[in-house]
């Protein structure tokens, strides 16, 4: 397996008035090419913060303060990694939406209420596909041009020609900002809108031309989520991050969206990082699973291993809390509450709730242990055993 993106000891803190929220406490995970990685854990354990840190879109007052996010996005050399945390903001802007995209939890809030659907999808193309679109417009212009071009038309054509070579050309940028003059981009916008309609249609929304002219409040939650997906998919990213993309939708829509994601995974995108509360969804869709607890990744394994042989006490508790069809014993909930991340417990952050906690767990943080079969776990129950053995 070749990795697509890898985090190493990612640390993110929020500087709030109540104190420093230590939301990520050294998270290391790998998403491989062509796989779906599931991230599970209780509410507030830092799943969203983890993926937002990877994209560097943490909002104030948060800061990514340690670790690396290594991306292997180079199509020619898949082993050449780039640490995203070291890159400029401009580099990230160019990456976001083009190579990594994200779908958010709350479709009702994820769209700008006063911008038309078409314009919001078109932005993706205008940010990332200017060059290709300018070339397309240029070709269309040359096809149409029977009569000699009038002076303004020639000027417009020249600007498109420049854009097709380099969309960041200073003259293009300047004329794109001046009032009135910037109208030369009309055809570029029209082309972006045409592509938006195309992708909206591809996501199974009937009558996409009409939908593109509507505003978010005109659409249902499921429709809005499809639009959010359309925005994320517009430029066929390598990695799609779905942050509880279906949690707030009703069950039938949820199933439709998941089917859509599975289908897209086969046709459009390389890898998916799926955050969810629903272990059933994980079992159905994911290849690998990471379990998070209070800012730590406590266990990572292939999906069958995790469900059949969970190692970390928290993972076991989580699986026992899921109702099953053939339930033997009682349904157990996890005792205790999620710790406050301003003042997390010392040592293993799970120890106050852990039925198997030992003396060392209260003092020191457990190292991650690799148990063979690509199964790793951060827990003292496994540190003193030789690698690969590890029964509970």
């Amino acid at each position: 397996m070749t990795p697509l993106i890898r985090t190493e000891n990612l640390v993110t803190n929020f500087y709030t008035y109540e104190g420093v929220v230590r939301a990520l406490n050294g998270v290391s995970l790998v998403v491989d090419h062509g796989t779906t990685f599931g991230l599970v854990g209780e509410s507030g354990c830092g799943k969203s913060v983890a993926v937002r840190s990877m994209m560097r879109i943490i909002q104030e007052p948060g800061r990514v303060e340690g670790g690396r996010v290594v991306a292997f996005f180079d199509p020619r050399d898949k082993r050449r990694g780039i640490d995203l945390l070291q890159q400029s903001e401009a580099y990230m802007e160019h990456l976001r939406g083009d190579q990594i995209s994200m779908i958010f939890q709350e479709p009702n809030a994820a769209l700008n209420p006063i911008m038309s659907i078409g314009d919001q999808v078109a932005e993706s193309f205008l940010f990332h596909k200017k060059k290709e679109m300018a070339a397309a417009v240029l070709a269309a212009m040359d096809r149409e041009n029977g009569r000699p071009p009038w002076p303004l038309g020639a000027f417009q054509r020249a600007l498109y020609a420049r854009t097709a070579v380099s969309p960041r050309d200073p003259l293009v940028a300047l004329t794109g900002r001046l009032p009135l003059v910037r109208r030369w981009q009309m055809r570029l916008r029209r082309e972006a809108l045409r592509r938006s309609v195309e992708i909206i249609g591809k996501l199974g929304i009937p009558n996409p031309e009409a939908v593109a002219r509507l505003y978010p409040h005109n659409l249902s939650g499921g429709m809005k989520q499809r639009i959010v997906i359309a925005i994320a998919l517009a430029c066929s990213p390598l990695l799609l991050i779905a942050d509880e993309a279906t949690s707030n939708l009703d069950v039938t829509i949820q199933a439709q969206i998941l089917d859509l994601l599975r289908h897209l995974k086969e046709t459009e995108i390389a890898s998916i990082l799926l955050i969810t509360h629903d272990l059933g969804v994980v079992a159905e869709t994911c290849d690998r699973v990471g379990v998070m607890y209070a800012g730590n990744l406590c266990e990572v394994a292939n999906v069958t291993d995790l469900f059949n042989a969970p190692r970390h006490p928290y993972t076991r508790a989580l699986l026992e809390a899921v109702p099953r069809l053939h339930q033997d014993g009682p349904l157990r909930s996890i005792e205790g509450a999620v710790p406050n991340l301003v003042n997390p417990p010392a040592g293993c952050r799970f120890h106050p709730r852990c039925p198997e906690a030992r003396a060392i767990c209260r003092k020191h943080f457990p190292e991650t242990v690799h148990l063979g079969g690509d199964h790793s776990v951060a827990c003292y129950l496994y540190t003193d055993r030789p690698r690969g053995e590890g029964a509970a």
Partner: protein, 343 residues
């Protein structure tokens, strides 16, 4: 849309009726003698008071007096202004351009400066620019307008001899009066008339006299606009759609100006009505302190003399301004926010 506007203008007549009845009622609480005394200038005339009451029916019942007033107004007779010593209608058009001129210059400054400073301080929260605009806003918000105007007048005119009160320097005013054939008052606004008459000196001098009034006015009125814009920007920037835009690859410029600012403008439009009210209040203090004979000055002078026809006229005018402002706000709102439909 058109029916909506027409309906709002139909509604205007009720507003004006309500405003006039209310004000008329308040003025009626003064005794007939007190109101008649406004027309008496010397002690000898005091014996005429009963005759004046008799002649104008000042002790008739409320509704009789009100209906009489309405009748006169509908015939185009708004009454006599003591302060201006001419009919109210004529006096209004004489004072109105002075106030309009000041507002024409101040309003764009208030609107654009407020929105701009508000956005910048919201985007660069807790930076030096945020702190300085906050101080600016606190001063403008908490000092009474007349006090602020007086302080500016004392500092600039009293100490530096820089900006004199009034609307025009005496020498230029005399030159207009001495050669009435060389100067036509097209609009009544000196800066514009000066240009239209080819008298650049008059236009510039009038502009020079406008500096302090506009400064006072802008600092007092811009605070609200600026703070609402600032908190709007901060709130919008924390919303989820901003995250979607960032995840799309939007640069800061696009996020701030294309996404957040347009949304943050909605609350600013909502407080525009309050801004208009504040600017009217501001006009009174500014015109009195800087001795500019506009509507605000006229209102203050007439109020102290209990000059009823003038007070009624100005209140009706304000009623019209408010209704038109609110109508403009509604239309603007529907234009910015697709969720709003006028019907």
């Amino acid at each position: 849309m058109l029916t909506y506007i027409l309906r709002r203008f139909f509604f205007l007549t009720f507003v004006l009726f309500g405003v006039s009845v209310l004000l008329f009622g308040i003025l009626m609480t003064f005794s007939p003698e007190r109101r008649a005394a406004a027309y008496v200038t010397t002690p000898q005339q005091a014996k005429d008071i009963p005759r004046i009451i008799q002649q104008f029916g000042l002790d008739d019942p409320f509704y009789v007096q009100y209906v009489r007033w309405i009748k006169e107004v509908s015939r185009g007779n708004m009454g006599w202004s003591l302060v201006a010593a001419r009919p109210v209608g004529e006096a209004f058009w004489r004072y109105f351009p002075i106030t309009l001129e000041m507002n024409l210059y101040a309003a764009p400054i208030v609107i654009f400066l407020g929105i701009w400073l508000g956005s910048v301080s919201g985007i660069h929260r807790d930076s030096w620019i945020d702190h300085s605009t906050r101080i600016f806003a606190i001063i403008g918000w908490s000092l009474p307008t007349f006090l602020f105007a007086l302080v500016l007048l004392m500092v600039f005119y009293g100490y530096f001899q820089m900006f004199s009160p009034g609307v025009l320097s005496d020498a230029l005013a005399m030159s207009i009066i001495d050669h009435p054939d060389q100067y036509t008052a097209y609009t009544g606004m000196l800066t514009i008339d000066g240009l239209l008459n080819g008298r650049l000196d008059i236009a510039l001098d009038a502009l020079h006299h406008l500096v302090l009034p506009i400064l006072t006015y802008v600092i007092v009125v811009v605070a609200l606009n600026m703070r609402v814009m600032r908190s709007g920007i901060i709130e919008e920037l924390s919303k989820d759609y901003v995250l979607t835009a960032r995840a799309k690859g939007a640069d800061r410029r696009t996020i701030h100006y294309r996404h957040a600012r347009r949304n943050a403008l909605l609350p600013v439009v909502t407080v525009a009505g309050q801004l208009v009210a504040m600017s009217m209040e501001g006009s009174i203090a500014v015109e009195v302190v800087y001795n500019r004979q506009g509507i605000g000055w006229w209102l203050a002078e007439s109020a102290t003399q209990l000059d009823m026809p003038v007070l009624m006229c100005i209140c009706l005018f304000m009623g019209v301004v408010f209704v038109v402002t609110n109508l403009t706000i509604d239309i603007l709102y529907a234009y910015i926010d697709p969720r709003i439909r006028l019907n």
